[in-house]
């Protein structure tokens, strides 16, 4: 019990010490948070920038179940912007080429070329360009340890979903450049559903033109071209909607795509939480055609089909089965 001047001073010092300690604890707490999700997020921002701004070429393995494909990727940035080419090294050289004008898929074994000029890739800005973008409400970002990948040291970033409606990811980023060297898409049980693993990569060197040219001209092939002018962006109200969405998901894009031999177009709605996404397709059922009802999946992608009022409803996305199911069942006509 403080009594007199001496005691009062001691109490003041004690209180001061207590306040100091409290302040330190709080300060440390803030610093701890920075080392956690903010730091991981910074790594992901750097990853996005590296992927867009660096020259690189490499070979990676794409794994999903027993499927294994080895692909080569070449990426270059020049005065015209980004150019990217990805080609399969197994069997026939199917490839995808992307530049400012759009995406071209070349399928030599089918004598087909598919060109998409709609430049939809520019529609959704990178999830990590803006700080956090509200993603930490639905995902936990943590920085992990270090591992060797493709002969380089990589830093692990974990992205853990906060609910069962979306997938998690584990990324291995090059410690030097933050380029993605390995990534796993994780199912609800934590097991990897899909994996990309670079076996070799060359970063920063000049990339000659001919590495980015497709290996065939596609002469004599059948060309299928689509573009912005051909799918109608549906700015108006759609008569279809879903009465349930997982937290954080919102409608980002809607369009109507006419099919060549059908009078009624397919309505397409694209939803995202900034990281994961799914699509809702609504099309009128053709007479005497058996509808698709129930589930299907391919690797990390799930689908759910149902029928509402003579319309085929299909939900497709890189989200768990339970998510597409629940959304599909909540689709309503206004």
């Amino acid at each position: 019990m403080p009594a007199g001047n001496g005691g009062g001073l001691r109490l003041a010092v004690d209180v001061q010490r207590l306040l100091c300690a409290l302040f330190l604890v709080l300060a440390l707490g803030v610093v701890q948070a920075d080392d956690g999700s903010d730091d991981a997020f910074q790594w992901l921002k750097r990853m996005g920038e590296a992927a867009r701004t660096l020259n690189y070429q490499g070979t990676f393995v794409y794994r999903q179940g027993s499927l294994l494909d080895t692909l080569r990727i070449i990426h270059r940035v020049d005065a015209e912007g980004e150019r990217e080419r990805m080609v399969s090294l197994n069997g026939v050289a199917r490839e995808v080429v992307r530049d400012a004008k759009g995406v071209t898929c070349i399928l030599p074994d089918h004598h087909s070329v598919v060109v998409d000029r709609s430049r939809r890739n520019g529609l959704l800005p990178s999830a990590f360009r803006t700080a956090n973008a509200g993603l930490d409400a639905h995902y936990r970002f943590t920085l992990g340890g270090r591992e060797r990948v493709a002969g380089r040291t990589a830093r692990i970033v974990n992205i853990q979903p906060k609910d069962a409606y979306r997938y998690g990811y584990r990324l291995w980023l090059d410690e030097d450049t933050a380029l993605l060297l390995k990534s796993e898409l994780l199912g609800s049980d934590g097991a990897a559903l899909e994996q990309i693993l670079y076996t070799s990569i060359d970063i920063g060197a000049d990339i000659p033109d001919d590495l980015l040219e497709p290996s065939t001209l596609g002469e004599g092939y059948t060309w299928h071209t689509s573009g912005q002018d051909q799918s109608v962006s549906d700015a108006g109200e759609s008569e279809w909607d879903t009465s349930w969405l997982p937290a954080g998901f919102s409608l980002r894009h809607r369009e109507r795509n006419p099919l060549p031999n059908q009078p009624v177009p397919v309505q397409h709605m694209w939803f995202s939480d900034g990281l994961a996404s799914f699509s809702l397709y609504v099309e009128r059922l053709e007479a005497d055609k058996d509808p698709f009802r129930g589930h299907s999946r391919v690797g990390a992608m799930n689908a759910f089909g149902t029928v509402v009022d003579d319309y085929q409803i299909t939900v497709v996305g890189e989200v768990p089965q339970g998510t597409v199911d629940r959304i599909g069942r909540a689709v309503r006509r206004r």
Binding site: L67, T222, W223, L259, V298
Partner: protein
């Protein structure tokens, strides 16, 4: 094949192989068709043990549907920029293009009992692809070819919207690899 390699394959299927070894084995699998066939068979066994197969066994279907197709050689032209004058675009829309892609992709690669792959090729876009569902390979696990075609078209269309750098070109990796059960 050496016992050691078999063990590594088995461990790889169960996800128990270290990355260092995985890369080496994966490289070999990608380059050696015989090895790939063994790999696929191990996955089949693993799936059966874990009850992952769809209700209808597709092994019988594999036996029933086998057609050899003479693949036309791809003509390699000297590389130069695609001149716009040469393009003969077939008018189509995003979804239609996707459907066309899927129609020509058709159904691929079912391993026969001796481990060789049979390829079934669709000739015309409008022809319904031959039925065949494999437990391995990247394809939708439905029994109906028309449903699979539609779902694959949706998958291509949906992937085109994913601009997140997390996936970047990766959805296209899935599409390029889609048929790799060949």
């Amino acid at each position: 094949m050496s016992d050691e390699l078999r063990e590594m394959l088995s461990a790889l299927v169960d996800g128990e192989l270290a990355d260092v070894d995985s890369v080496h084995v994966l490289d070999r699998i990608a380059r050696e068709p015989a090895l790939k066939a063994v790999w696929e068979r191990y996955h089949l066994v693993s799936d059966v043990l874990r009850n992952h197969l769809p209700a209808v066994s597709s092994v019988d279907l594999v036996d029933k549907v086998r057609q050899a197709v003479q693949a036309e050689p791809v003509s390699i032209r000297p590389r130069r920029r695609l001149p716009t004058a040469v393009l003969r675009p077939v008018a189509g829309f995003a979804l239609a293009a996707s459907v066309a892609v899927v129609a020509v992709l058709g159904f691929r690669g079912m391993s026969g009992p001796d481990g060789t792959s049979a390829v079934v090729e669709t000739v015309a876009q409008t022809q319904a692809p031959a039925s065949g569902v494999g437990p391995t390979g990247l394809r939708w696990d439905v029994d109906r070819p028309d449903v699979e075609a539609r779902l694959s078209a949706y998958m291509v269309n949906h992937s085109e919207h994913t601009g997140s750098t997390l996936r970047g070109m990766m959805p296209y990796a899935r599409i390029i690899a889609y048929d790799a059960g060949r």
